[in-house]
Symmetry: C2
Subunit: 449 residues, 2 copies
Amino acid sequence: MSTTIPSARPRVVIIGCGFGGLEAARKLRGAPVDITLVEKTNHHLFQPLLYQVATAGLAAPSIAAPARLLFRKQPNVTTLLGEVERIDTAAREVQLVGGVRLPWDHLIVAAGATHSYFGNESWERFAPGLKTLADAFEIRRRVLMSFEAAELEADAARRRALLTFAVIGAGPTGVEMAGTLAEIARHTLEGEFRHIDPRSAEVLLIEGGPRVLSAMPESLSQRALEQLQKLGVQVRLNARVTSIDETGIEVESPFSDGGAGKGVHRIDCHCVVWAAGVAASPLGRQLCEATGAEADRAGRVKVQPDLSVPGHPDISVVGDLASAMSYRPGKPPTPVPGVSPGAKQMGRAASENILRRIEGRDTLPFRYRDYGNLATIGRNSAVVDLGTPFGPIRFSGRFAWLFWLFAHVYFLIGFRNRIVVLMDWASAYWSFERHARVVAHVEVKDEEG
Amino acid sequence: MSTTIPSARPRVVIIGCGFGGLEAARKLRGAPVDITLVEKTNHHLFQPLLYQVATAGLAAPSIAAPARLLFRKQPNVTTLLGEVERIDTAAREVQLVGGVRLPWDHLIVAAGATHSYFGNESWERFAPGLKTLADAFEIRRRVLMSFEAAELEADAARRRALLTFAVIGAGPTGVEMAGTLAEIARHTLEGEFRHIDPRSAEVLLIEGGPRVLSAMPESLSQRALEQLQKLGVQVRLNARVTSIDETGIEVESPFSDGGAGKGVHRIDCHCVVWAAGVAASPLGRQLCEATGAEADRAGRVKVQPDLSVPGHPDISVVGDLASAMSYRPGKPPTPVPGVSPGAKQMGRAASENILRRIEGRDTLPFRYRDYGNLATIGRNSAVVDLGTPFGPIRFSGRFAWLFWLFAHVYFLIGFRNRIVVLMDWASAYWSFERHARVVAHVEVKDEEG
């Protein structure tokens, strides 16, 4: 079947409705083009707060907006829910699973990234990652059900394993998860159990590199480490995970630091969260095969300075799927970091270049504007590294946390969501309660079969 | 394994944390008993608003409260998340799946009800019912995905089938579902699709009996019918569903009314919601077999006037699992309706009778206090039937709707939830938007395999 939208205007197909795809489509508001936005979920997700859904602090609708609602008032956008099967560069068509074909004059691929287990894909079952709402629900279920199972467990060793939580990878997501899990154990669940003491739970943060938040300046990494330890998180640096199974993980430490000692150690635990690696969407490799473009180690497509695919000026790649450089006049190009402002800026730049191409003008090289980097650790603690014309401003602690909080509320989509998230955070701050401690599927049948 | 809580005080086991179980446990606050509350989900669900989760108006956490949070400050309650395998009346122990055994001195069974397909259990796959949060997510997914699939569908007949929604059963849940679906099609999705007009969707409400809301006085049924039709719902009365499969339903009408005509008709539709029948939890039959008690046609346990099981004064059954009568002095006993106030009152009465038994006093027969009956239909429309000492007060329309709205917010658990639900309703009222239009699992793998 072929759904061809009759059109005299240039047809723009955008794959993905993350930060990159969303901004690309918005940038074309009012432009003389017909846009088809293809997304495999029905919502745009505000991923920086996804860990809050996973840790039962926010309800899913507070950080997700229906994709088609966002474009209700942009009539040149048609939103389609579907999965891309193949990008046919010869026919210049995107093929969806199910047979629908979408011809393009300009294509923006913003399909994002997923978790990577570095070749150990069997680990996924035991250590889910955090990229989608479905992932967040699964992690929420595992966290809350571990405490429930511990309350029923008579065997002390098994109870200890159920009360041991391991987060692998100390990037922003891993740090946020570990800090919040420690808060849940220490405060949120206080007084609710009769057979276990939730405060006896151990939260481990395991990082292969020598410091947490390695994208941050070293001084802020050190502050983050101290704040994590203050919250009760056991941080193991330079520790490589060598095995994950249903009942625990194996960790190899080359140094005898962090309490674990040198050598390979087994940690019995049931709830493991994978925050260690991302890989580009498989569409990246498919696109490279079809166009001869190069992929980097993470499977991202190496793009031209104007974000197009080499030899294919009609195809641009943006966001986490792109391996892009930033070009500042008179300076050597620098890699664009894989953060949401980068994806947004790339999305807008790709659309801007489409308009220039339509008008017969030259495209512009992409320039990334770095406004800084923030990460939260837990209650009253965050680190902030702001880029200003006068040099970097760095701070941490309670003020950094408030800064992080309002920055995230500001960038959330929708007035209602901003109010509800602020309200939930205020109430969580005073009561230590997390109001989304609800598990719809206590047991997941997929896992058993 | 046996988890025996050493105790000199009478041990009360409560199965279920719905309205009945929750109120039974609360009534025993401060009483010299040790309570174990067993629940197979981790939350108490405010079921009267579950249809709002299914129709994307509310987020799940707004109508669900963690069971153990509710009893944090009631130290004589131990909450356990588990599924009951068997009630061992000889050993006076509840056996959980997994092996844990809970000995009781007093047992309250409040395990509730589930959907009944009247022997056609194969229909469940095509026509899910609405009892749990998992059910609500599944119905939300089907409703929203039907519009998405229609937008991609080139074949006119299949598109029509995707835009036909059938709700089976015109009790309160069926009426709420149908009214809300009509509102979604007519208003919420306006302007969001480019290939279909959501307003062309048809919403059918199919009822086997001669009127909607049959528990209401006939005049209010008539008002509800008119309001449904005004909202655009096609109501088919006296229509019996004879078959449900993946692509549609068959309906048999003895009369040639309601547009369908006499005889058996096939209706092509993909999204079918089952609101036609409930059956008591299977624990009811197991209890009847073990005790010799009688079950009614719906599988509910016929209880004594004091809500205990005949011959087993230590076992009470309350809520939807009980077939109970109300005893008013000088009047013949009347059946207790299967509504949440009935379950709450039974829960409190069962606990009151446990306390009387502990104190060596006679138990009291149950007396149901009927404060009336309300049902909403949609925007600005509801019907209310209040019992007052001066006789019934009946009204419908906008004022009834406001009455329904505030009554439900009042009975919701938690200050935060009341505020958020009010806010979401106010915003939905003015914008027609439903803020929880988020589907985590676009495809459900269970269904495909």
